[in-house]
Structure formats: structure tokens, C-alpha cells
């Protein structure tokens, strides 16, 4: 469990081109905010997915999380738009 499991939903899945992926915890990444900053550098699609941080919500290990939430190897991180359930 030395890597992160990252899930993308709805238009974040479409823009990144991934529903899920495994990723070694990048060097210098300690929080969700750090991870987003790293992901934005990966490709134009990732940059587009995270272009407006106000439209992106996240969960760490299936709990809603904020940019300052700590992350560690082994975590499951999910990115998605604001919820439209019900």
C-alpha cells in the first residue's frame, strides 16, 4: 500500500481521461491541496479538470475532505463535482 488510489467522477473523469488510477505518493505531497497542484501539471486534461478549484470536491478514504486534509500512501482519494443527488 505504498501508493495512492485516485478516483475521478463525472466530468473530472471525462477531462482527466481516467476513472481511477494508482499513483506512488509524489514527493512533497502531504495534503489534498498539494496533490491537486501536482495533478494539474500532468497534462492539459488534468489541468482542465482542476482549472477551477471551486468546482472540485474531494473525499479521502470515503470522507469529504478539504485542501488542508492530510494524505498518505495507502489512501483512497476521490475527486468529483458538487453533488447532484436526490
Amino acid at each position: 500500500m505504498a501508493s495512492l488510489r485516485i478516483l475521478y467522477f463525472a466530468w473530472l473523469r471525462e477531462r482527466t481521461g481516467h476513472g481511477e488510477e494508482e499513483l506512488p505518493l509524489p514527493e512533497g505531497v502531504a495534503t489534498l491541496g498539494d496533490l491537486i497542484a501536482f495533478l494539474r501539471t500532468r497534462s492539459a486534461g488534468y489541468a482542465a479538470a482542476f482549472a477551477d478549484p471551486r468546482l472540485v470536491r474531494a473525499a479521502v478514504n470515503q470522507e469529504f475532505a478539504r485542501p488542508e486534509t492530510a494524505i498518505a500512501a495507502g489512501d483512497e482519494v476521490a475527486f468529483f463535482p458538487p453533488i447532484t443527488g436526490g
Binding site: 467522477f9 463525472a10 470515503q62 468529483f80 463535482p81 458538487p82 453533488i83 447532484t84 443527488g85 436526490g86
Partner: protein
């Protein structure tokens, strides 16, 4: 013990009400809410797809249902949320609550549907007649509706 189901299949509100009542024979009040896929002249759609986050959805709904049971002294509660492809007129979501008195059942139902709108990890995509598909944007009003429950004390109740 709430009944929680996250499923692609449809459901039968009448059968769910009967099962809830059988599980809560002391109840004097049963309230329900059913959400239905809409398509109208102002905003016609041919279908809707609901995507969700399976590992998170059911545990999160189970937690809020337990919280509602305690907060509103419920005798029972049922929540069903569908995912996958749905057509106009199809039921999407169902909430039913059983309580001694009407106010608790009605308020718990409203609390739960407000929560599901904004906190249950589902995302709706609408399919239009020209073949395009658009992700539905969340409403600020829905967020406000869910948030007001954290500041409001439960209302007192008497009568059924």
C-alpha cells in the same frame, strides 16, 4: 435499523411503505418522498444517467439515516437511491420515515432528502435529443437547504 438500498433497478413505493409499517407497528405517522426524472417543454431530456461512488454511497447514507433516526426519534426509515440510466417519469430516489407523530416523520423526510441532494455522492448527466449530454450543475439553494439543518434545533411535537 434503516433499510438502505443503492440500486439500478426500479422500486415500488407501495411495497416499501407496507414493509416500513410492518417493521414499525407502533408508528402513527409515515411520510414519504419520491423524486422522479423530469422532462418538460422548457427543458426536454431523453434520459438521465446517475453516476455514483459505490464505496462511499451506502456507508454515507447509512450514517445519515442513523443520525435521522436518533434526531427525530424515528421508529424506522427507508432510503433508496438509484444509479444508471433512467427515463423521464422514472423514480430516482425514495425516502420514507415512520414516527409516533406527524411532525417528526415529515421533518425527518425533508432532512433526509435535503441531505441526499447535496451529500450523497451522485452526479446526474442529462441526455438531450440532439445526442449531447450535460452534467447537471449543483444548486446553491440545495446547499443552503442542507446547511439549515445544522443550525436549526428539532421542532417540538405533540399529536400525531
Amino acid at each position: 435499523m434503516p433499510r438502505i438500498a443503492v440500486q439500478s433497478e426500479t422500486f415500488d413505493p407501495g411495497a416499501e411503505i407496507a414493509a416500513l409499517q410492518a417493521a414499525a407497528p407502533q408508528a402513527g405517522a409515515i411520510a414519504t418522498f419520491t423524486g422522479v426524472v423530469r422532462s418538460d417543454a422548457a427543458h426536454p431530456i431523453v434520459a438521465m444517467t446517475l453516476e455514483h461512488y459505490p464505496a462511499m454511497t451506502e456507508p454515507a447514507i447509512r450514517r445519515i439515516a442513523a443520525q435521522a433516526e436518533q434526531r427525530f426519534s424515528l421508529l424506522g426509515c427507508t432510503i433508496i437511491h438509484r444509479f444508471g440510466r433512467l427515463l423521464p417519469g422514472d423514480p430516482i430516489v425514495f425516502v420514507a420515515t415512520a414516527a409516533s407523530h406527524r411532525r417528526a416523520a415529515l421533518q425527518a423526510t425533508e432532512f433526509l432528502i435535503d441531505w441526499l441532494k447535496t451529500r450523497a455522492p451522485f452526479w446526474k448527466q442529462e441526455h438531450l435529443s440532439d445526442g449531447s449530454a450535460i452534467w447537471v450543475a449543483a444548486l446553491a439553494q440545495d446547499e443552503a437547504d442542507a446547511d439549515r439543518w445544522s443550525s436549526l434545533p428539532p421542532r417540538n411535537d405533540s399529536g400525531s
